[in-house]
Amino acid sequence: MIARVGGRTLVLGSLSAFVFACSVTRRDDVVIATRVPDHAPSFDRPDGSVLPDASTPRSGQCPTNECPAGHATCPNNPFPCGVDLTSDDDNCGTCGNRCADFTLSSPEDINLHALMKCVNGKCALGCEVGFADCNGFVEDGCEIHVFEDEANCGQCGTTCQSPNECVDGQCACNIDFSCGTCGNVCPPTVEPPPPNTDLPFPDEWNAWYACKSGQCYQPSCKPGFGDCNNDFDPVGRTGDGCETIIGGDPNNCGACGKKCAEGEICPADECVCPCGSPCFGKRVESDIQNCGACGIACPTAGEHQETICDRGVCAIRCDPNWGDCDDVVDCEANLMSDPLNCGGCGIRCDAIEGQACVDGKCTTKECLPE
């Protein structure tokens, strides 16, 4: 699993999500929460119609101020039962148990590329993308850069066989001008022709001798040109060689006969649909880089928000499980744990004193027999 924490992306072990499930038995309904009447609409996405409505009574369930299993009320969290002890890095397993922060550096000021994360109630080592803990020692963090380590390429224990090298986490040939096999080097261009080959091709043929089909010194079209009429005859010296420009030609974009669709352009060797072209279609209604018109980029969103292009107009909406419930235009309310906005703005967990909001629902437990 990959998680983004504090601006860094970490590779983590499998994180099991805590699930709180209420048992349901038939019983008279009781009030477990209240909804503030006439709450004005806001741009929180998970409104009451999307999230489970915390104010809806559930049969057999009575309000409680007891935390469900795995949750606790901790001093460093503003909400009752607001801490999930299985995943809270500041309260891992128990209140106040903070997983060590390896984010920046070791005491020797060496970047350990690591962060301790709370997984299943225990602190576990997590690594930045591209790094791994291959020796199992927490003390030296994620000591291996798996993007370039020949003995741990891509993952711990994967060794690259020479002359291959570890390139971006994969064993690959890193010797320039290799032809066919890694290390079989031939020059990128041969002008004039190498020994034992024919004379140079006419300039207008746009051809030379180069690596082709794994062999050096093969008659080939120069980059950006193609033999689209199939008459390139390097032996008989007939035909017009590599007569077609395939770099930038929308009718032969990167290859002979590769025609771009209507409205597309061929800036190099790939067809591209530019904004403003008919092929761009309705993308200006949803593209945050071209919202409503080409070159109108929507601004960056703030905390717990995301920028969207809503039918051609830039807008901001709250991240899932967050809401804009006050007079300030932001997404300040944690709809998962705020007892004043539980599952939606204005839904209060106030059926009894101390009732909490857990996973967007006011806490309940099975009613006691009368």
């Binding site: 008919p278 409503g292 018109a293 929507c298 235009v329």
Partner: protein, 389 residues
């Protein structure tokens, strides 16, 4: 800038789906625009017709707001609305949508696009005379010589390059037209400035503008002309900090610029002003979270708007009025408010029976008179005729 002229291609209307997005007749008891308590409407919406796009073809609310038939589907967002009179009303929106009302029927113009601008969101339309129509679409400034039917309108364009701010709002009075342009974004090749400029009108040679204001990172939401010598512009920075600017004649007679721009305090650091309207007596702002602000003429020198109590917390997108005791505001979740000179009251709409999240947002309001008011929004058009039968 590049100047070009195009004539609308003769493309058949894509669709003319009358009656789309028509909810059930208004069922909510409501308050009439005059603020008085209003009994449940006895109009059952029976006036709705399905065979023509005539005025008030849809259901009506108890406040006499009626859904009008328009030849667009509900996925088109109508962003702005303006007219020169009761028989010459224009609305614009997403996908290059242009609608025109001739006093009887809303028609849709054939698709027209300046170079490289197909399907863009038309953001602003303004006209004072039938033969002098202005549109801004974030890509270009359009100028038209009037409605000549859905297949024949003539348009000229000034296309803004990506290193120029995007034209987003146009309003004017008499010979003077104000144009607001917004920053484009973080791309290093894009403009990151907002501009205000003025022009004495479109000429055969094109558009010549006088720059009157520029500031980094500004996105202009609206502009309004309250008097011949005064306009107001609303802007924000990254959808958070809001700004209100007054455009007036310079206090220094020796000033080289014919216009002077001053920032005004609208008493909100956290909300944004989205709509503005004013006349000689007062200027009104509406905005996010039900923001309502007013500055009376005598208070203009104070450079500070007063807070006016709002009956809603919904975002308000536009405001329009006819004097000190007849002002309307519209916005999110089909919100319609009316000011009677003393207080704002909520007005019932034909969408009140829908869940709040299903009600279309009203984006723009304009009227030719107190008894002829149009409201445009997400796939819908609503008309108020003052209760005339």
């Amino acid at each position: 800038m590049a100047l070009a002229t195009l004539t609308a291609a003769s493309v058949p209307l894509a669709c003319a789906s009358e009656g789309e997005h028509e909810p059930e007749p208004g069922v909510e008891p409501a308050t009439a625009p005059d603020g008085s308590a209003d009994a449940r409407d006895t109009d059952d919406g029976g006036g709705a017709t399905s065979d023509s796009a005539t005025l008030d073809a849809g259901p009506c609310s108890s406040s006499k707001l009626c859904v009008a038939a328009i030849p667009t589907d509900e996925t088109v967002r109508l962003t702005d609305l303006w007219g020169s009179g009761a028989t010459d009303v224009w609305a614009v929106g997403t996908r290059g949508t242009i609608l025109h009302y001739d006093g009887a029927t809303w028609e849709k113009a054939d698709p027209v696009a300046p170079e490289g601008g197909a399907g863009f969101t038309l953001r602003s339309v303004w006209l004072e005379r039938p033969d002098d129509v202005w549109i801004a679409d974030g890509h270009s400034i359009w100028h038209g010589t009037g409605w000549k039917g859905p297949h024949a309108s003539d348009w000229s364009f000034v296309v803004a390059s990506e290193d120029e701010p995007a034209p987003t709002a146009i309003r004017g009075r008499g010979r003077t037209v104000f144009i607001a342009r917004s920053m484009r974004g973080a791309n290093p090749f894009y403009s990151i400035q907002g501009w205000l400029s003025a022009t004495d009108g479109w000429t055969d040679a094109g558009l010549e503008t006088i720059p009157i204001f520029a500031e980094y990172f500004l996105t202009f939401n609206a502009i309004a002309v309250s008097r011949q010598d005064e306009a107001w512009a609303l802007a924000d920075v990254f959808s958070s900090e809001g700004y209100v600017y007054r455009i007036g004649r310079p206090s220094d007679p020796a000033s080289e610029s014919p216009w002077q721009v001053e920032e005004y305090d609208f008493k909100s650091s956290t909300r944004r002003a989205l709509g503005v309207w004013g006349d000689d007596s007062a200027v009104w702002l509406v905005g996010t979270k039900g923001l309502l602000r007013r500055i009376t003429r005598s208070a203009v020198p104070s450079k500070s708007f007063e807070i006016v109590e709002s009956p809603v917390r919904a975002d308000l997108h536009d405001v329009f009025g006819f004097g000190p005791a007849d002002v309307w505001a519209v916005g999110e979740a089909s919100t319609v408010l009316h000011w009677d000179g003393n207080a704002w009251t909520k007005v019932s709409t034909p969408f009140d029976h829908l869940n709040e999240t299903e009600r279309p947002t009203f984006e723009s309001i304009w009227g030719s008179s107190p008894t002829d008011i149009w409201i445009a929004g997400d796939g819908t058009m609503v008309h108020f005729d003052g209760g005339a039968q």
